[in-house]
Symmetry: C2
Subunit: 201 residues, 2 copies
Amino acid sequence: MSTLNSLSVEDLGSAAQRDRRKRILDATYELAREGGFDAVQMRAVADKAEVALGTLYRYFPSKIHLLVSALAREFERSQKSIATMDAVPGDTAAERVIFVMKRTTRGLQGDPRLTEALTRAFMFADASVATEIHTVGMLLTSMLTQAMRPGAEEPTAEDVAIARVIGDVWLSALVAWVTGRSTAAETGAHLETAVGLLLRD
Amino acid sequence: MSTLNSLSVEDLGSAAQRDRRKRILDATYELAREGGFDAVQMRAVADKAEVALGTLYRYFPSKIHLLVSALAREFERSQKSIATMDAVPGDTAAERVIFVMKRTTRGLQGDPRLTEALTRAFMFADASVATEIHTVGMLLTSMLTQAMRPGAEEPTAEDVAIARVIGDVWLSALVAWVTGRSTAAETGAHLETAVGLLLRD
DNA sequence: GCACAAACTGGAACGTGTTCCTATTATGGG
DNA sequence: CCCATAATAGGAACACGTTCCAGTTTGTGC
């Protein structure tokens, strides 16, 4: 795996290049949604994005970078959609956190193959993808701390610690789900249990 | 990926077959320890175990099955070594759980490449490896519940739930560590935080 | 001890991620 | 506008997981 990073939007000077990048991520997204991790084949992505294979590798140095970048883009969209809600429903922190998790999870479980592709990529990513991974981790943590303490400017250290633990459980549960080792219902129940243990008000 | 399971020791009739299986797992272990996931190449394993490639695939239907089986064998050894201790040290459940986790983690972190190989395999495993994965999950859960309530015959439902959450955090932390996204110290600290949150006596 | 089935060997072959190379096309400075 | 440089296209080539096959060895029931 390469040491290079994926090219971000800011790295790209011309409009044509930004468009190529978008076409590549769109193609990745669509192939992942249709056939999961295995269907995201680099030659297929290049074809669909109307880009040469070498160009694809110039933009994203590996299949993993490509998928994790696609995951980061989806997460940003999901976070924006939650951020535009006036308030997360629920009387307790636990209820609000579960709401956010369920909403995010349901979005993902509605697209099982996409989720499989992105989760696998996330789990398989090595240090060279740390930048992209960190983006996703921060987004998730901030979604959760905001649900825990709506309106607060700065989450407490304990809030962040709890959010990270919940994020870990969520990832593990997602992995178990996408790999067919547990059902969607089990995934949800396990998450609720974990949140209940961590946020007993 | 195949639907078949790995051949377990009980499936193998003759001593020669049990010996082949052992040679294969030993070769896997050694290659993983030397060079991690990438170094565990099926041709290399077959060569080192002095077995034909087709035979290797008869015993373990994929590289993932092979590595997860190797992980299961290591876990059994680790659990036995802890089980032979008179008592896990520590006054509180949290202290005892942290002791067990640290001991297991240290064993793994002493062999970073091995751990990388096994963790990656675990994360990448799909439903066809469910049997092998389940074995590992049960071992981990029982190690933890025993540390929480030493001497108890049956762990409570809450004990099991907590143990599973800790297991999830541990896996996520391990993944972050083997992929170079966090240091060993951070991994340990994160685990301690999570255990502290879950087991406040 | 024989005949048959199962297991094993050795290696070819295929698919997909990745690398590399050459020719062609954009891009930006003078 | 022209040149130098970078970016892209198109595709061959390589590595490794996996499958498959023909021939040989091992194990089993009689």
